[in-house]
């Protein structure tokens, strides 16, 4: 068993283990144990990856394992990672780990909850390790579908409506994506050799330009829906608002990253010429996402809605950067995915914890919580500062990399929209501070909130894990950035070879 497959096997084993348990406490412990192992495994993977690179291994992907699955269609179960996937796997395991602790107090159908949650995680891990489009797509859908139950059963508010909307829109995206993938597959051998789903092999041929024009928009749009591309983002506010804490964390933190990662790994990498030709359309859409999401967040009253719109804005930035098609911007996109993943998970975790205490998410009904629950409040402020791009926390690193990268684009149009996107940092500051000011600072407005208890141990584990990661990336971004940068080189080389700027 290779190390990468373990990332799928361990969650599956955990699920199997949970299936045979009756006691809620044991279910929690087993989940935490399984995901703890997963976290350790991710650490091992990072270490193994870095040492392999240091040892001079310059292959595009490492730890490649390839098993023929469906011979007639040349479908393989093929896994492999480069720095980007390693980083994403790291992110996922952190968020999942934190998510387990954030949902420690789920009482209703606990067993089913953790099974669905870990199933979702399985899909995400599988997605990131796959280098075969078929398996990638398979895991992608595996990750999406448990959302329905997770939101529908354990959610709040208009949960059924939100769950349905979210599922249908995301599956709609994946439907469009499927056509794009099939298009790539059937154009993967213009020389008449065997068709393939393998990303690495497809990247070595150049798909006819007519096909690229057709399939780039489909593929990008397909992934874009999950990446909350305007105007297909509306599942996000409703979905996040209704979802239980851990699900919001996982969804905004990890699942939305599937969109960005896929757009980058498939749409841009495999169809670079089409991307180059048509990127302007999506650049406009993503720029709208970035600014529009931020403005949308200002006017919201519900904490989760604010964060959902903020995610639209931040994830828009990911797609925006990916479309800029240069190394720095793409590097920024990956960093932004990781950074946003961590901090939005942190946000949702905190919102969940606040909700668990105050039983409301309306900012107007809370106030002055800093005095009552200082630990959570300080964490909230830190999350906010990370979100608005404070240096020293991860958001800054990612955003600056994106902005500098995007601004290196040779065409004036792209630089001007970059300035537009840059302006989102101010709007972000406005809505973050608005919330912080109303929610945490000032006198305690609601007398029911005067005797709330601060974070419990498991909540602290969840939050501290996330803050630690956010700060680690923010303070010392070099290793992560260069790990991603090295992995981006082949992709960039390919893009540059095809589209000399």
């Amino acid at each position: 068993m290779d190390i990468l497959t373990l990332f799928v096997v361990i969650p599956v084993l955990t699920i199997t283990g949970i299936l045979f348990l009756k006691d809620t406490r044991q279910v929690r412990l087993v989940s935490a144990f399984g995901m703890g192992i997963q976290l350790i495994l991710a650490g091992v993977l990072v270490f193994a990856y870095l040492s392999a690179r240091n040892a001079g291994n310059t292959e595009e992907m490492l730890f490649i394992k390839d098993y023929l699955w469906f011979k007639s269609l040349n479908i393989h179960y093929a896994v492999g990672v480069d720095g980007i996937s390693v980083a994403m796997i790291g992110l996922t395991s952190i968020v999942v780990f934190a998510g387990i602790f954030a949902s420690w107090e789920v009482e209703f159908l606990t067993k089913e909850f953790f099974i669905s949650l870990i199933l979702l995680a399985t899909g995400v891990f599988g997605f990131f390790i796959s280098i075969d489009l078929f398996t990638m797509f398979l895991f992608y859908e595996v990750a999406v579908i448990p959302m329905y139950l997770l939101i529908g059963i354990w959610g709040s508010g208009p949960k059924e409506y939100s769950a349905m909307k979210l599922t249908l829109m995301l599956m709609g995206g994946s439907a469009i994506l499927l056509v794009g993938l099939l298009g790539i597959y059937f154009n993967s051998a213009p020389g008449g050799t065997q068709l393939t789903f393998n990303i690495l092999e497809i990247s070595k041929v150049s798909i006819p330009i007519a096909a690229q024009r057709l399939f780039f928009p489909l593929t990008f749009l397909g992934f874009g829906v999950l990446g909350a591309l305007f105007p297909f983002h509306t599942w996000s506010p409703d979905g996040h608002a209704s979802a239980p804490t851990a699900v919001s964390m996982l969804h905004a933190g990890v699942l939305m990253k599937l969109g960005g990662y896929g757009a980058f790994r498939v749409a841009i990498f495999l169809l670079p010429e089409g991307a180059k030709e048509l990127s302007w359309i999506f650049i406009i859409l993503t720029s709208i996402s970035v600014v529009y999401g931020a403005f949308g967040a200002i006017a919201q009253k519900d904490l989760k809605y604010i964060n959902a719109y903020s995610s639209v804005s931040h994830c828009g930035l990911v797609l925006f950067a990916v479309l800029m098609m240069n190394k720095t911007a793409m590097n920024g996109a990956i960093l932004q995915m990781i950074s946003h993943g961590l901090m939005t998970a942190l946000f949702f975790a905190l919102i969940g914890m606040l909700y668990g205490r105050t039983h409301t998410r309306m900012i107007s009904e809370m106030g002055g919580l800093m005095k009552v629950i200082p630990f959570l409040s300080v964490c909230y402020v830190i999350a906010g500062l990370a979100s608005l791009g404070l240096p020293g926390l991860s958001g800054f690193v990612a955003e600056m990399t994106i902005f500098v990268g995007a601004f290196q684009h040779p065409e004036l149009f792209y630089r001007i929209v970059t300035i537009l996107a840059v302006s989102s940092i101010v709007i972000t500051a406005v809505y973050i501070l608005r919330v912080v000011a109303i929610l945490l600072l000032g006198p305690t407005t609601n007398e029911h909130h005067e005797h709330l208890t601060d974070a419990k141990w498991f909540e602290k584990i969840s939050v501290v894990t996330l803050i630690g990661s956010v700060a680690a990336i923010g303070l010392a971004p070099f290793w992560l950035s260069s790990m991603i940068g090295t992995s981006l080189q082949p992709i960039v080389d390919r893009i540059v070879a095809l589209n000399p700027f």
Binding site: I145, G152, K159, M164, L182
Partner: protein, 473 residues
């Protein structure tokens, strides 16, 4: 020509023998022993199913009227598996007091239809085909009206028999034109002599309409929902899976081997009808309250997806169609199995009645969910693979737009499948289905279905085997 050559007709002969045995048992067994008729039939049929997998040789009989090949054997085996599941599932239903008198009739009729289907699939001549198709249809009308004390059942019976008579008429009318223009009814010869004249196309369209009726392709599908709703659940499941499957098999054989000359015409026909079928099927399914009617429309839209495998006329297409049917058998019978179990236990057949089912009968709900996800094409269950291959087959020939329409349709279908899932898991039932224990047969059938749903997808060997036995135009 020795008697041994008849052995290539093994499937049909065994079925007929079994039918006779059941009949004999019915006649000679006394009241006490009759209780075992269903068990006897199931075991008998189980043996037949297993025997179907014994290696066999290809060949022809009756001067080419009967043709068998590895492909047809495969198709028959798939049908056998499905029919076996239906047999097992219907045992508890047959044990009910009102049905105990008619147990052997039920098996007898089912076995005859299955024999008809097998003949149809193995036909090398339109006469054999016609006899097969009628043998497969007429007894089913009797089965649809099986619940003779229920209005709906009678209505279903009459709707089925008259519609199918009309469709046979039209099919035959088309066939007569084909005969008139080619002068032969042998598949092989028709294929050679078929041109592209207007009369032949007219004949083909009429013929196609008759076949489309069996597969319930829009606009020839209208009988489906009513008959599915009215018939006893076991019969419905048989209709939706086995009858439909057999018709799909023969249609793909006919299109690929008899009508390759007018491939461009039938591709367009398929294009139009498949878009109509999935869309209309889905649109109707959205609103359904009766679970059987719901599954009827779902099965109509499934037929639309299946047509995607036809359209390319490629080997991959045929393989994906056969494979999808195998998956579809497991998935749909899984869903029907749950419906049957609940219907038998409580008589409830509405989606509303499923509210809160998970809290009383978790395993049934899970099986239902699995089956519905498979029907919707959600990984990692087999339905995902099935749909993926169908779409791949269509995309291989460049029908991207059709694939897009199809995948968008799957979203609608996902919506209504999720409605059922929602009912079971999320909705609070005021009078939920009580907790009940299923008997051995139900459990067995559902276990096989679940195993099928889970394994068929991952085990690539199944698809590869089917692919090797398939052929293109």
């Amino acid at each position: 020509m020795s008697l041994g050559t008849f052995l290539i007709m093994r499937h049909e002969l065994l079925l007929i023998a079994a039918a006779l045995l059941v009949l004999i048992a019915e006649i000679f067994w006394n009241e006490d022993k009759r209780r075992y008729i269903s068990l006897f039939s199931v075991i008998l049929f189980g043996i037949i199913t297993i025997a179907g997998f014994l290696p066999s040789t290809a060949g022809t009989l009756f001067g080419g009227m009967y043709v068998t090949s590895a492909t047809t054997v495969l198709m028959k085996n798939i049908l056998n598996i499905g029919a076996l599941l239906v047999f097992i599932q219907s045992v508890p239903w047959l044990k009910k007091k009102e049905n105990s008198e008619k147990t052997s009739e039920y098996f007898l009729l089912l076995l005859s239809t299955l024999a008809g289907m097998n003949y149809m699939i193995s036909a090398g001549h339109f006469l054999m085909f016609y006899i097969g198709i009628e043998l497969a249809t007429i007894p089913i009308a009797a089965l649809a009206a099986f619940d003779s004390y229920k209005n709906k059942s009678a209505e279903a019976g009459i709707k089925l028999i008259l519609s199918s008579a009309l469709s046979s008429g039209i099919l035959l009318y088309g066939l007569s034109m084909i005969y008139g223009t080619t002068g032969t009814l042998y598949f092989k010869e028709v294929a050679e002599l078929f041109g592209n004249t207007s009369l032949q196309i007219l004949g083909f369209i009429f013929f196609f309409a008759g076949m489309a009726f069996k597969i319930s392709i829009v606009p020839f599908h209208l009988w489906t929902a009513d008959v599915y709703e009215g018939s006893p659940v076991s019969v419905t499941s048989y209709l939706s899976v086995i009858s439909k499957g057999a018709a799909v098999f023969i249609l793909i054989i006919l299109l690929f081997t008899v009508f390759p000359a007018i491939i461009s015409t039938w591709q367009k026909t398929i294009y139009v009808t498949s878009v109509l079928t999935m869309t209309i099927g889905n649109l109707f399914a959205i609103r359904q309250q009766n679970i059987k009617r719901f599954l009827a429309f779902s099965s109509i839209s499934q037929a639309g997806y299946i047509l995607l495998g036809f359209i390319g006329g490629n080997q991959l297409g045929m393989a994906s169609v056969i494979y999808y049917l195998l998956v579809y058998i497991f998935s749909n019978l899984g869903a029907f199995g749950v419906v049957i179990a609940i219907s038998n236990a409580t008589g409830k057949e509405n989606i509303d009645d499923y509210n809160g089912l998970y809290h009383t009968n978790p395993s049934l709900s899970l099986i239902m969910t699995l089956a519905l996800f498979s029907l919707a094409g959600i990984p990692p269950v087999a339905g995902f693979f099935g749909k993926f291959f169908l779409f791949t087959a269509a995309a291989e020939k460049g029908y991207y737009l059709l694939v897009l329409i199809a995948v968008l349709n799957t979203i609608i279908s996902l919506y209504y499948y999720l409605l059922v899932v929602k009912a079971m898991f999320i909705n609070k039932g005021e009078t939920p289905v009580e907790k009940f224990k299923s008997d051995f047969f139900t459990k067995l059938a559902l276990a096989i279905c679940v195993a099928g749903i889970v394994v068929t997808g991952f085990a690539s060997i199944i698809f590869e085997a089917i692919k090797n036995l398939s052929f293109g135009v």
